[in-house]
């Protein structure tokens, strides 16, 4: 029984390790992509800025969900507060930009 559980855990760990490595490589690639976008000097700044920001958002999601284990069970409260705070922050900025100043 215990042995079976151990092997199961081991399999799970192996899978987890593979995912972590994969995500790590992907984040490295995304970082390279961001550098290339700027260094190649072939793209207009109006393209580069939103492109890099999009990459950054993807990186943040990877960071939160894979490296900081937000995808695992038992993180419901953390997610609620994360997204609640995000919602309030974004709404405040939007309100300032588009209602108050523009």
């Amino acid at each position: 029984m215990n042995d079976k559980k151990n092997t199961l855990n081991k399999q799970k760990l192996n899978k987890e390790l593979k995912i972590q490595l994969l995500v790590f490589i992907v984040t490295l690639l995304l970082t390279v992509l961001a550098f290339v976008a700027v260094a190649s000097e072939k793209f207009a700044p109006t393209f580069i800025a939103p492109f890099i920001v999009t990459l950054a958002v993807v990186q943040v999601i990877f960071q939160l969900y894979y490296f900081m284990h937000l995808k695992d069970k038992g993180n419901k409260e953390i997610s609620i507060f994360l997204y609640g705070g995000l919602l309030i922050g974004v709404l405040t900025v939007i309100a300032c930009l588009f209602i108050v100043w523009l």
């Binding site: 409260e77 507060f81 609640g84 705070g85 309030i88 922050g89 709404l91 405040t92 309100a95 300032c96 209602i99 108050v100």
Partner: protein, 618 residues
């Protein structure tokens, strides 16, 4: 372990300096809050005396500004906030069946930061340079205010704000992680729910304020130019930052009070709270909408009709969940077997007073009408109805309700009822007439008015009312002292309560629950009582209890930052040696304590099974 041994007075006082027990910290919050409440009341009286008759010269203009600023700052940050934190600290862990908060050390740290912030603010009187830019300290005025007055305000709020954020995080983690088995979110007592939402508002709202204060601090101390319009700065940005914090702050204060009254109404009507689910939903909605309405404090800034219209509508939307709550309370009373105890009287007095405050709130929320109301005494009357009629009534009612649990003896009911009646009459006499003074055109924050402006009569009535109000407060404090002397012993459950805190001895032992209770329903203790059990059952057997050990480090950490603040303030661009040395000494104390905290290993201690069973099992 000497759990119930008599101690010398000195040792007891010393214990409060090093305590990490949530109950003792709650009491520290309550009593320092009451102290600052008295300070703020004295300042309010000074203002009312000055305004009693036209062209009075009781206070000079400058002194009046200082008194007014200190009154507002004290009442919001150093009276209302700690009194509510005191109740939350004491009651929330008991209501969720926890033995302490999640981070006892941070809890103590938060308290000492708050207290040193308050002492720092009041030390401005000793230096003779008192903040004089209003409790909002709008940048256009605060940057040019002479002397160190506004610096006292900024650093004091920075200190106490840090403490508040710590406490907010602590309560959130406590309520998420430390609930007793079976205590699901939808079985939380409403006071715990509102404390939960309040804590969330604190951690979302306070950072905006901190940033506003830092910008202002840098402008004043280091000559930064964020608010200098001549070189491209913007003073309105401070108003935005302040109110992005300031409006949620109003809800931070009032939501726990909604919780207190929900408990009181349900207990003294002997009924389950009507519409529990909609109450929870309304609290969450109020919390969320509270962030979307800050610009209604700035209608006259000139944001334009579009912005004003949006924020006016958003503000009126808050009336909907608030209305849900009011109707739920009324329907809780409906058909209940009502006992008119003192806490219940506070509740019944709260509903009409708060509705008046709410209605004038919706009036000021209409942007077009607000151009008339803005900066007049109408606004002063509005927010005093909300704050005194809501928050102060809630705190006093809550104190009367939980007093037997906290101290083990009852407050005198007759005195309680008399003091409530005096307070209620005084409150309405003071503030009701101010509506009309405002509509007649008297601007707020002015230190006097002229003879032919016809404000005299109503202001005189208001001043008489404030004497009655203060008499009520004196009677309440007298009741606290009188009942302490008489010591009419309280049973564990004096009000026939519904929630877990009434299932344990009064006052609770240091570990709260000998065994962590099993919760089977909303109003867990009531459910067990109805089933004929006089005690909560527990899923676990009696075992050793792990307790955090006391520490003096929180006190010294806060003390360090307190001392450093003086140094920072008198630094005056680096030419002042004594100030620099003070800054360094304060820094060493603060960061030294942090190093000690990080290096000393402290695993707490255990109260063993033997000690638990040796105690008298009453």
């Amino acid at each position: 372990m000497q759990l119930a041994r008599k101690q010398s007075l000195f040792k007891t006082i010393l214990e409060y300096f090093v305590t990490v027990d949530h109950k003792k910290i709650g009491l520290l919050y309550l009593f320092s809050g009451l102290f600052f409440l008295v300070c703020g009341t004295v300042l309010a009286l000074l203002m009312r005396i000055q305004l009693a008759v036209p062209e009075n010269d009781f206070l000079s203009g400058q002194t009046y500004n200082e008194v007014m600023t200190m009154h507002g700052t004290t009442m919001i940050f150093f009276a209302a906030t700690p009194l509510i934190f005191g109740l939350m600290n004491y009651i929330v862990p008991l209501q969720i069946g926890a033995r302490d908060v999640a981070f006892p050390f941070i809890n103590a740290l938060g308290f000492w930061f708050f207290l040193f912030g308050g002492i720092f603010l009041y030390s401005s009187f000793l230096f003779g340079e008192v903040p004089d830019a209003g409790w909002t300290a709008y940048a256009s005025l605060a940057v040019v205010s002479k002397g160190h007055g506004v610096d006292f305000y900024l650093l004091a709020l920075q200190l106490s704000g840090a403490g508040t954020i710590m406490s907010g995080i602590n309560f959130l983690v406590t309520i998420v992680n430390m609930r007793a088995p079976g205590m699901s979110y939808m079985r939380l007592p409403l006071f715990t729910w509102t404390s939960f939402i309040t804590s969330a508002l604190i951690i979302f709202a306070f950072p905006a304020f901190t940033i506003g204060l830092i910008l202002l601090l840098f402008s004043r101390l280091f000559g930064a130019q964020y608010f200098n319009v001549a070189i491209g700065g913007n003073t309105v940005i401070y108003e935005h930052l302040f109110w992005i914090f300031g409006h949620p702050e109003v809800y931070i204060l009032v939501l726990p009070i909604f919780g207190v009254f929900s408990e009181i109404f349900s207990t003294f009507s002997k009924k389950r709270l009507f519409g529990y689910n909609s109450m929870v939903f309304a609290v969450i909605l109020i919390g969320f909408l509270g962030f979307m309405v800050w610009a209604h404090h700035m209608f006259t800034v000139g944001l334009g009709p579009f912005a004003n219209a949006i924020f006016a509508i958003a503000t009126m939307a808050i009336a909907v969940p608030t209305g849900i709550k009011i109707f739920n309370w009324l329907l809780t009373l409906w058909g209940g077997s009502i006992r008119l105890t003192t806490p219940m009287l506070y509740g019944l007095g709260f509903i009409p007073s708060f509705i008046i405050g709410g209605v004038t709130g919706v009036m000021t929320a209409s942007a077009a009408a607000d151009y008339q109301f803005h900066d007049s005494y109408f606004v002063v009357a509005h927010f005093h109805y909300v704050i005194v009629g809501g928050i102060v009534f809630g705190i006093l009612g809550g104190l009367h309700y939980w007093w037997p649990k906290m101290f083990g003896y009852m407050l005198n009911e007759t005195l309680g009822k008399i003091s409530f009646a005096v307070l209620f009459v005084g409150f309405h006499t003071t503030f009701f007439v101010l509506h009309f003074v405002g509509l007649m055109g008297m601007p707020r924050r002015y230190f006097t008015y002229l003879k032919d402006q016809d404000f005299g009569d109503l202001n005189y009535i208001s001043t008489i009312g404030s004497y009655i109000l203060v008499l009520g407060l004196v009677l309440i404090v007298f009741n606290y002292i009188y009942s302490t002397v008489i010591r009419e012993k309280a049973v564990n459950d004096p009000w026939n309560g519904r929630t877990l805190e009434w299932s344990i001895p009064s006052p609770p032992p240091m570990y709260n629950f000998k065994q962590v209770p099993q919760v089977n329903s909303l109003d867990a203790f009531w459910y067990e009582k109805m089933k004929g059990n006089s005690n909560m059952s527990s899923p676990d057997e009696l075992s050793d209890i792990h307790m955090p050990s006391n520490s003096s480090l929180p006190f010294f950490m806060a003390l360090g930052f307190f001392i450093a603040s003086y140094g920072l303030m008198f630094l005056d661009k680096g030419s002042n040696n004594i100030a620099f040395i003070t800054l360094v000494i304060g820094g060493i104390i603060a960061f030294g304590s942090m190093v000690l905290r990080s290096t000393i290993e402290d695993k707490g201690y255990y109260i063993t099974k033997k000690q638990l069973s040796e105690e008298d099992p009453k």
